[in-house]
């Protein structure tokens, strides 16, 4: 037998193929701000007015362009397409912004355009952590990531017109069909690349594929290139600095010395000197010519995550996990604490005499830094001599001689929205309670995508307890907060497991016993804009036929599935979006999803133009919204027994197991009991030999068809479970979860209260 499992990246081949999921991202009212930590900063070359623009890339998955003046910063563009953290960004030449992400892609953008992604490169198979360009050779781009992958790209080829594209390039799937007439020709190429395999990729169209820098055994966390693009350095969990020739991708040397992960690298313009910052809390200066470490500076008390040098490479600014920014003279080893942030420092960039600092917080600070004359800062006093053993600084701080930062507060702040750090899905499975990094506790209604309550800074757990409701609704969605806001994930078929009665959602105009499927209505709400555009484009015929949605082979392959798919109870294929599922057009959510081709993409729901089809959106979402077809559901029904209370002389109504919707209310059970009693009274002597299960489905779940229950009589029947009287509004699922609390089938007891 051949063994398939457990050799590298084969997880996908061994697991059963999973349907693609649809995720939507709840947005904040203020879309101009980042809502998660800032991983990267870049400054464009000064424009005519003398100032460069600041570009920021965030853990919220977006990049932003800022027009910054002395005391203002205006967000002039948001680049939205990555579906995970943006880890690094560089500006190549004058116009090209390149970003890399934990979504394993590298994207290129036109710095000054209307925010559309020009290329998506899918060569990496794991998170892409860092990028590097050459100041004087804007064509060279290097990318590195987890799993030891390092690639060197020729940007000119990458950005060349699509007709020449090879399998490693593609039009961005989310934008391609809007902006480019070539989209269809690319479509055929997209499918090939999805199984990116670094070693086996062939370059049919030579030159466009990246040069592979082979040799890293472990993950790369830092990268740097010299001015002319002739030298590349990388560092990571291997604890060594590797030096490459980017033109050939061959290793030239490696430098040992650090004792932990290397998180930051810098090269001087000539490529002779290299600075490295490491989780061992040290900064090291290397002479690449002599292949040795010239200096090690013990400045920080914790990991060094970011380095920035003066143009002359005489001084270095460093920041890291200890939240402190130091300025160090590389020759004299004099060091000065410039400022302390409130969060760990992830990135710095110098602009004239100032320094921009990005942290794990969503805001960005600008501090004075004397970048043009760092010696001046050091002369002001307060500096210390950097040790060369990692514990020496730690010892200094232990001895209590705490350093006082030169600057107390930032000169200017670009505020961000505090990201969500904690969340709890409430029992009603409609509300999610969140706590953000500022400590504010908020309540979100995920079916409308809005914040419904801001409790301010209150204890999260206490609020959670306060909001506890004894209700049981199936988990129809999952949530994560890696992008700083709530990502709500819908997976088929489990997302279709939750239903509610119209009355509970205050929906009028529907029959009392209609069941509203929460996922279906949510999908309708999310795709309402898409549907309108689509109808405008294709006319209304599409909604009635499958042909447009599922084409050719795909349809044939799935027709089996379709035979099992049930058309929802109420046959009317209404596309009306009910108020509880209306998403705000002012701050619309973004959806993150992928169809049969092209990989995942992200876009605001209002930016969908109706051309998106099964190649872009999971087929099951389209089926649900267009044709009202839902996959077969399990667990919509619940089994239980209905027995008289002990000691009651009342005749057993039924002995068999009954089946009812999980959401059935207790008062419906009361109705059923009354009906059965009335029936028995009529057919006295027959002994009630009804088929178990069947009557309930007829009478209780779909509304009483036979006898109308006498309301006076109703109050005289009580339903009990586990020695407790059940409130009439409680659902069977809730009774099972909170009163019955056993894995066995639920047993309900009824009791007649004798009227006086």
């Amino acid at each position: 037998m051949h063994r398939v499992a457990s050799s590298g990246n084969t997880a996908n081949s061994t697991r059963p193929r999973k349907e693609k999921r649809l995720t939507y991202l709840l947005s904040y009212a203020d879309d101009e701000k980042h809502c998660a930590g800032i991983n990267c900063l870049a400054i464009s070359k000064p424009t005519l007015d003398g100032r460069g623009h600041l570009f920021t890339g965030s853990r919220d998955g977006t990049l932003k362009r800022w027009e910054v003046n002395e005391n203002s910063a205006i967000c002039s563009a948001t680049f939205e397409s990555h579906v995970d953290w943006v880890n690094d960004a560089v500006i190549a030449g004058d116009n090209v912004l390149v970003s890399c992400s934990s979504d394993t892609t590298i994207k290129t953008w036109n710095c000054w355009s209307e925010e559309t992604c020009t290329r998506t490169l899918r060569q990496h198979s794991d998170y892409v952590t860092s990028l590097a360009t050459a100041e004087k050779n804007s064509n060279v781009l290097a990318s590195a990531g987890l799993g030891g992958e390092v690639f060197i790209w020729d940007l000119e080829t990458v950005l060349a017109p699509v007709s020449k594209s090879s399998d490693i390039m593609e039009e961005d799937s989310s934008n391609g069909f809007i902006s480019s007439a070539n989209a269809t020709s690319v479509g055929s190429l997209r499918a090939i690349n999805s199984s990116t395999s670094i070693s086996t990729h062939t370059n049919q169209s030579s030159g466009s594929a990246p040069t592979v820098a082979k040799g890293h055994k472990e993950s790369v966390y830092a990268l740097a290139m010299n001015d002319t693009g002739t030298l590349l350095v990388s560092g990571g969990t291997e604890k060594v600095v590797r030096v490459w020739d980017p033109r050939s991708g061959s290793k030239t040397t490696k430098l040992k010395g650090h004792t932990d992960n290397i998180r930051a690298l810098l090269l001087d313009s000539t490529g002779r000197f290299c600075l490295s910052g490491s989780s061992d809390s040290m900064i090291r200066l290397w002479d690449l010519g002599q292949q040795r470490c010239l200096h090690s500076y013990a400045v920080h008390t914790d990991s060094v995550w970011a380095l920035s040098s003066t143009p002359s490479f005489t001084h270095v600014y460093s920041g890291g996990r200890d939240m402190s920014l130091y300025l160090t003279d590389l020759t004299t080893r004099e060091s000065l604490l410039l400022c302390t942030e409130e969060h760990p420092i992830l990135k710095m960039v110098l602009q004239d005499d100032n320094i921009w600092i990005a942290t794990t917080d969503s805001s960005i600070h600008r501090w004075p830094a004397d970048g043009r004359n760092p010696q001046k800062a050091l002369q002001r006093g307060g500096s210390f001599l950097a040790g060369n053993l990692s514990f020496s600084r730690a010892r200094v701080s232990l001895e209590g001689s705490t350093l006082v930062p030169v600057y107390k507060g930032p000169e200017f702040t670009i505020p961000g929205t505090p990201g969500i750090v904690e969340h709890e899905i409430l029992n009603n499975r409609t509300h999610v309670l969140t706590k953000d990094s500022s400590g504010s506790v908020k309540l979100w209604e995920i079916t409308r995508g809005i914040m419904v309550e801001d409790y301010g800074k209150v204890p999260f757990d206490q609020k959670k307890e306060e909001l506890f409701e004894m209700v049981s609704v199936p988990a129809w969605f999952t949530v994560d907060t890696r992008l700083g806001s709530l990502s709500v994930h819908l997976d088929t078929p489990q997302c279709f497991s939750a239903e509610m009665y119209p009355v509970d959602l205050s929906i009028s105009g529907k029959a009392e016993d209609d069941k509203v499927n929460l996922a279906r209505e949510t999908l309708k709400g999310l795709l309402a804009h898409w549907l309108t555009k689509r109808r405008k484009r294709f006319g209304s015929r599409t909604s009635s036929s499958n042909g447009d949605v599922l084409s050719g082979r795909d349809f044939a392959a799935r027709s089996l599935d379709h035979s099992r798919i049930e058309v929802d109870g109420n046959a009317d294929n209404d596309s009306t979006v009910y108020p509880p599922f209306e998403f705000s057009p002012v701050s619309p959510p973004s959806i993150i999803t992928e169809g049969s081709q092209g990989g995942p993409w992200r876009k605001k729901i209002t930016d969908l133009d109706g051309t998106e089809d099964e190649k872009d959106i999971p087929w099951w979402c389209i089926e649900c919204v267009l044709n009202n077809r839902l996959p077969p559901r399990e667990n919509a029904k619940l089994s239980f027994y209905l027995h008289p209370c002990e000691g009651l002389t009342v005749q057993m109504l039924t002995q068999g197991k009954l089946n009812a919707p999980r959401i059935l209310r207790i008062h419906k059970v009361v109705t059923y009991v009354i009906e059965k009693m009335a029936q028995d009274r009529q057919s006295d002597g027959l002994g009630g030999e009804d088929a178990p299960g069947l009557p309930l489905r007829q009478s209780a779940s779909d509304g009483p068809r036979g006898l109308k229950a006498n309301p006076k009589f109703k109050s005289l029947i009580e339903i009990w479970c586990n020695n407790q009287v059940l409130p009439p509004d409680m659902s069977l699922a809730t009774v099972r979860a909170y009163i019955w609390k056993k894995p066995e089938d639920l047993i309900l007891n009824y009791r007649v209260i004798e009227s006086k």
Binding site: D126, L146, G147, S219, T237, S279, T360, V421, D480, R482
Partner: protein
């Protein structure tokens, strides 16, 4: 069987320890897994003491139902109170109780000695906890009436809260491991503590217990498809994980994973690797008691080539003598033989099926 006994007595001569008893245990058909472990436990000083005490204290209340604890206490008392110094005893009541308790051990199939030891210790803990709780309830005038309703504060359904009790079994065998995970992105270290009653070690060809322990607490990177969900980053990130022994137990039980599941064969295969074990062991990577020192006092050995057949024997150190227990038989054995015999099993097993292959070493605290 009397002959064996007398032979052992002769061998020990006037060195026969005062008050000590060396008895073989009868095999009821593939119960050597049980016999070998029982012998090792009998010669585990603190364990035997506690068990004999337990028997003495509970003699009066004969109304209580039999359980594994009472059966074991009974057996140990029986051995220790024998008039003869050597001989054979049939652990009938205990084995019957064991088979009644767990269907796993009911058949005549070959069983795993390690599985049995863990089952037995957990069972003893359960019984002791139950007794302790009952005693507590008795002392508290009346047990509080069971509450019917569970208020909203209780949160999840079926939430029964049990506070952990420390029994004498815990005191003897339980240590604490710290599982440290460091996210490689934010570098936050998350430490989780886990109690353990034995260390299961992966083994390698031509290695030693010390190197196996080193591997056990070496750093493992969680990456690729197996990333770590970091609460601080709210996302999956690479992480480094390592296990440290935080609190060393009084008696350290080490289990060598000699039975490896081979996917291709769909069954377990025995790894007949040579693993050297020292008579004195230092735990270097423990956090609290800087260097815990142990000396070996019992080894449970699996003889044979596969997991489904073979035989279990045990080697036990008692009063500075090493004894070899093979069901009914008890023999003296030289200390040097203990190590060479089992430590260099590879050569020995090459052409006979008496290959040493697997053992639970029970190492006693010496300091």
């Amino acid at each position: 069987m009397g002959a064996t006994g007398s032979k052992l007595e002769k061998a020990l001569g006037d060195q026969f320890p005062e008050g000590e008893r060396y008895f073989g245990l009868e095999n009821f058909g593939n119960t050597c897994y049980c016999n070998s472990v029982l012998q090792a436990l009998y010669f585990c000083g603190p364990f035997r003491e506690q068990l004999l005490d337990y028997y003495a204290n509970n003699k009066g209340s004969g109304d209580a139902e039999d359980n594994l604890l009472t059966c074991l206490a009974d057996l140990f008392t029986q051995i220790s109170s024998q008039k003869k110094k050597t001989g054979v005893i049939a652990p009938k009541r205990f084995v019957q109780r064991l088979k009644k308790q767990n269907e796993l051990f009911r058949s005549y199939m070959h069983q795993d000695a390690h599985e049995f030891l863990i089952f037995l210790l957990n069972e003893l803990v359960d019984i002791l906890e139950k007794e302790a709780r009952a005693a507590k309830n008795d002392s508290e005038t009346l047990s509080p009436p069971e509450k019917i309703a569970n208020g909203p504060k209780n949160g999840q359904p079926n939430g029964v809260h049990k506070e952990p009790l420390v029994t004498w079994v815990h005191k003897i065998f339980q240590g604490i491991l710290t599982n440290e995970t460091r996210c490689l992105r934010c570098e936050t270290v998350t430490a989780r503590e886990e109690p353990f009653i034995d260390l299961s070690l992966d083994i390698e060809q031509n290695s030693s217990i010390t190197s196996c322990l080193k591997n056990f607490s070496s750093t493992e990177t969680l990456n690729a498809e197996d990333k770590f969900f970091c609460d601080k980053c709210c996302s999956l990130q690479e992480a480094q994980k390592r296990m440290k022994i935080k609190k060393a137990p009084q008696i350290l039980v080490i289990h060598l994973k000699r039975f490896k599941y081979i996917e291709q064969m769909g069954r377990h295969k025995k790894l007949s690797y040579r693993v050297v074990f020292p008579l004195e062991l230092k735990l270097i990577n423990s956090v609290e008691d800087a260097d815990a020192e142990y000396s070996l006092f019992a080894v449970v050995v699996h003889v044979g080539s596969g997991p489904n057949h073979g035989h279990y024997v045990s080697l036990v150190k008692s009063h500075n003598h090493w004894l070899f227990f093979d069901d009914e038989n008890v023999e003296m054995i030289d200390e040097s033989a203990v190590q060479t015999f089992f430590g260099s099993a590879q050569e020995y097993s090459s052409n006979t099926d008496h290959g040493e292959a697997r053992w639970d070493g029970m190492v006693r605290y010496a300091l």
